[in-house]
Amino acid sequence: MIADDAPQSTTHMTSTGDGSAHELLQRLIELQQTYHHIPWTEIERLSRQLSLSQSHIVGVIEFYSFLHTTHQGEYEIFISDNITDQMQGSRLLAELLAKGLGIEIGTTRADKRVSLNYTSCIGMGDQGPAALINGYTLTALTTERINQIIQRVDASTPLDQWPRSLFEVSSKTRRKDIILNSEYIPGAAIAAGLKNGPTSLLNQLEQSGLRGCGGAGFSTASKWRFCAAADAEKRFVVCNADEGEPGTFKDRYLLQAHTDRLIEGMTLCAAVIGSSTGFIYLRGEYRYLLQPLNEILEQRRKAGLLGQSILGQANFNFDIKIHLGAGAYICGEESALIESLEGKRGIPRSRPPFPVTQGYCGFPTVVNNVETFCNAAMIAQRGPEWFRQVGTPASPGTKLLSISGDCERPGIYEFPFGTSIRDILHACGAQQTLAVQIGGAAGRMIPATEFNRTIAFEDISTGGSFMIFNQNRELLRAIENFTHFFRHESCGFCTPCRVGSSLLAKQLSKVMVGHATAKDLDEMSILGSLMQKTSHCGLGQTAANPILDGLGKFPSLFQSRLRATSFEPAFDLDASLEEARLLTGRDDPDAHLEGGGV
């Protein structure tokens, strides 16, 4: 698909315009687009308009990676820095780009023309290396494409005059199963839901055994039922399209190629729980999808499938707003997502109460993944037996996988639950595989000895990320990448995660540079398990997984780099005196330190 909307820079936005504090994040995103930073005068204005303190507003700006108080370039470029991008050569291309633009990575050029940074995975693992420019996705970067970018930045060519091919996002599927092979009939699921009533629909969902596809696997029927049962005057339907887990991009595909199924599923949910307002929380990295999504919402309104009196039912009104994220992985956590929807910093709430009883603005809220809503729509249309015909008893149906890394055919695959990793690797043409990272950075690293294990909630559960590493790869680089990812994405609210993720990154770098001893590995294990037990939310609880899995399943990766001594300094002692030697001109014996530990 071509991101037709790329040129339209600033005006088309999503905010509700109701002047409430909930608008804050959407207003800030607009301002960032207009001014390439949030000017202080605008912070003052927002503070008055929304009755929020200036420090609160600055706090929100500083929380989100794509918002800045300091001036960024007219072209804001972010290079996706996931391990799969790196394996496709992203780091070299980034350096080439930096050199061509005459800028250091992580800075803004003096003339304010361009800024260049790395960012976490932007969901293009099957067509990387990828980058964002003013929010729009550049795919399949090569040296040739990098040169095109440099030329156009230098010539100040407006984005709408850039070649469309640079922005092309392919949504090819490599394997289809019952879901993708079934035809979607517009309105059929809603009609069935309205005809049979909420109870019957919930029973159908329950019989189907549909479980949340974001990775946690909570029963969808139970979630909707709890929400419907909660005593409240309003209820909300929220689609979690903040697909931030490194290596996953299947929601991008669904949002792009099966938007109607998603909206149908959300509308169905609204019918069941009794809701008039829904939100799609679209990650900022997918803003190229904003306009197509809004167009489809509009088409459905015209077709009587959304808005007032849906399918002619006088008392069934439901509409959907799209809310953009601004570069924060933690907002994929449902309670952080709700905070962000309310325009605040995305800090996870304490649970319980769960969103099904107290979610958006304190009202009962269903938050489901994109794939879950799509599946729910198809189940209402085709029935539970159809869904259960594949999969396992505990994990019925299929799972969309985003396959990337070392294989011949990366892309979207639909597999029945219960499929073995070996079969998946075979299907995508992976050879001499050393390990697979399943479920993203927060998931598990699976060695070849466990390739007979299966994708299923009762075995290896996943939100859909499937990254393959062959025997030529240095797995420690992947572990380092994931560990740095968590350090960057920790929201900073709780100490075990905020401090722990930094300490882990430091200790791992001590291993990488060859300064670590066996004691350091013990320390990493202790710290990792402390983080698992004491962190506030899933991010901190899983941030140590890459290191703990690495230590458990690939101990030689670490041990081969250890010093034999009992302890070594974390840095080169003598080298760290070099700057002082230069400044003082000294080179006497006391101006040097012996290396090595004690």
Partner: protein, 179 residues
């Protein structure tokens, strides 16, 4: 308890606040007198650390001399403890880490206000500064960490008391939490 344990202490890049807190255990010092014998310490003025049971280190590592002292302590002490925020995290001295060493020295000795005869000191007597201030566990293995700025006298006393009695070291919540 039989023979007293030998204790050495040092303040590296610190402010001596942790040592003051050690003294702040007041009359309980008298309880400790029979059980503790000080080796190298600012309290004794012994210059070189000898074999010890326990070493208490205040402050982070900011220069070459700090590194040497810390390594000597690690060689000589059976148990080595990081006492206070600076030893554990680098603390206030580590705030210079966001600047280069050249920036720091130039500001202090060349471009600052009221400087007479501007020059960066280079006497060999002076220990050279590391380009960053480090917590002590980045240089040697540390057995225990006593948080606080400074750790309270109670915390320090509890630590010594439990160590002397051979009990596992445990603190009341208020002694090690600051929220």
């Amino acid at each position: 308890m039989s023979s007293p344990i030998k204790v050495a202490t040092a303040s590296l890049a610190g402010c001596f606040g942790c040592h003051m807190s050690l003294l702040d255990i007041d009359e309980r010092l008298i309880d400790l007198v029979g059980h503790i014998q000080f080796d190298r310490s600012p309290l004794t003025d012994i210059k070189k650390v000898g074999p010890c049971d326990l070493g208490l280190i205040e402050g982070g590592v900011c220069n070459a001399e700090n590194v040497e002292i810390l390594k000597a302590f690690r060689r000589q002490c059976k148990i080595l403890v990081a006492v206070g925020a600076c030893a554990i995290n680098g603390g206030v001295p580590a705030m210079r880490n966001q600047y280069s060493l050249a920036e720091c020295l130039e500001e202090a000795y060349l471009h600052g206000t009221g400087i007479d005869n501007p020059q960066i000191p280079n006497d060999p007597e002076l220990p050279l500064l590391l380009n960053q201030v480090h917590p002590i566990h980045e240089v040697v293995w540390i057995d225990y960490f006593l948080p606080g700025c400074p750790p309270s006298a109670d915390t320090i006393f509890t630590f010594l008391d439990e160590l002397l009695s051979g009990r596992p070291i445990q603190f009341a919540y208020q002694q090690i939490h600051y929220d």
